[in-house]
Amino acid sequence: MVLIRVPRPPKSAYDPDRPVGSLLKSQVEHMREAESKLPLRYRHEIETYVKAVRTEGEAARYIQAVHKAIQQAHEEADRERRGLKPAPTPKPVIEIAAVADEAAERKSNSARKHPAAKSQKSPRTKPRKK
């Protein structure tokens, strides 16, 4: 039997900015449910982010963060069961580039219009990870 050639998709097929479809939205929702059952220290507190997910790339970032948090929670529970010292668990942070950038822009515009507002913090966004 001869070797059958399998054509590859073009690089242009890649589009993480594609609008998120109903299936990925539901997967995000399922992961949010799973996240809500994790101990507090593993949660991302990004309800706002979940509702703001617009693209596949944004959905993927959230799904990955929760997936890793679930894995981390189980690894820690396993360490506890074995009587090992818990590893330090930094508070998980997701880079919410789009939302943060928009917020920064809003803040910047607001500061230009209302100089007194310059020092106010946005309550809806978290600082971006350095």
Binding site: A13, H30, G57, H67, I70
Partner: protein
Amino acid sequence: MPPGLDRLQHIVVLMMENRSFDHMLGSLKAVNPKIDGYVDGDAYTNPDANNNPVKPQPSAKFQGQLQPDPDHHFPAVDLQIFGKGSDPTANNRQPNMQGFVASYFNQQRNLAHSQMIMYYFPKENLPVLTTLALEFAVFNRWFSSIPGPTICNRAFAHYGTSFGRVDLNPIYPPETIKSVYTRLIHNDPKRTAKVYYYDTTSSTMEVANLLQNQPELFGTYKQFLQDCDNGDLPDYSFIEPNYSDHQSDSGALIANDQHPDHNVRAGEVFIAQVYQAIKNNPQLWESTALLITYDEHGGIFDHVPPPGCVADKFKADGNATGVGVDFHFDRLGVRVPTILISPWIPAGTVENRVFDHASIPATITKFFVGNYSADRSPREIAADIFIEPQGAAVDPARNLLSLDMMRADCPDFDA
């Protein structure tokens, strides 16, 4: 016992996304008339918004055609199956598969665009899927479990039921009905099972509850490839594709689930890689059966009316279905492409028995556990099995791994 069944140690299921049988494999009827697809000249059409007949066309593209995503929620599939003007409250409705164009027209009110739902792939454009279908066993009557979307259909592959759900909402299975994986790992003697998701960014679909409670059941696709290389594959493996375009450590990853509007060629490559991973290990190849299937039809046309089936013990009420009447899970969803692969299957095998995704836990449980006395759904209990159990008197008419000698002429792909 037939040697193929005697040597069978591993069953692998790969479930892709949202493509119908006729859309992917219908063109094969021209090559093998036993395959119930579509050839030019067949009578099947769908009426458009002006009641003009629309024929299936071999014009499907890999990407950029099915935008927006064709509706495949319960009410839309009801229209697709029963046609315009059908009253869901009427008794004895007969499915006619006349509502695909009407359903897609409802999304954009664009006559030309609505006809694209009748497009199918020429055989040459899907060299992996069509070659595997012609070289091994293709199922003429494998239907999605529910006339609805992904999540509830995937639940049938894991649990043999969707616990009354017909939508995309999270499912919280009651303790009584165990997943097929739990059945295997808690069996005596213990069996092994794994869900291989693509990566942590794609994660798992429908079984987030299992990921949360039984993470030991899960592994990555990379681990699947390693397990194939090392001969460490579990008894049962369920593989999930990549559901999203995203960045990974190795760069940009294109979704390979074939869900519209993801690139179909990426899925072809993925299917070929899974196949080659098994085939490249000779010990694994002779002792493994690979089932490739799709969760549901994704709103795309198929000409075969789904049959009725045994009702489940759960029901979805009229509010949940969105059509005003209860659904008792007593009929199947639209037909999907399904292929069983093993070097013990004769080339050109076409299976005509009726299956749906409940056949997956039914087959796996029967094969690896035997007589399973704990709770299972009526749908799973009634579902046919696609691999006969070992040790029993085997009916040759039902055994697909029927060859006395292992084939040496199976195809290879440059995946």
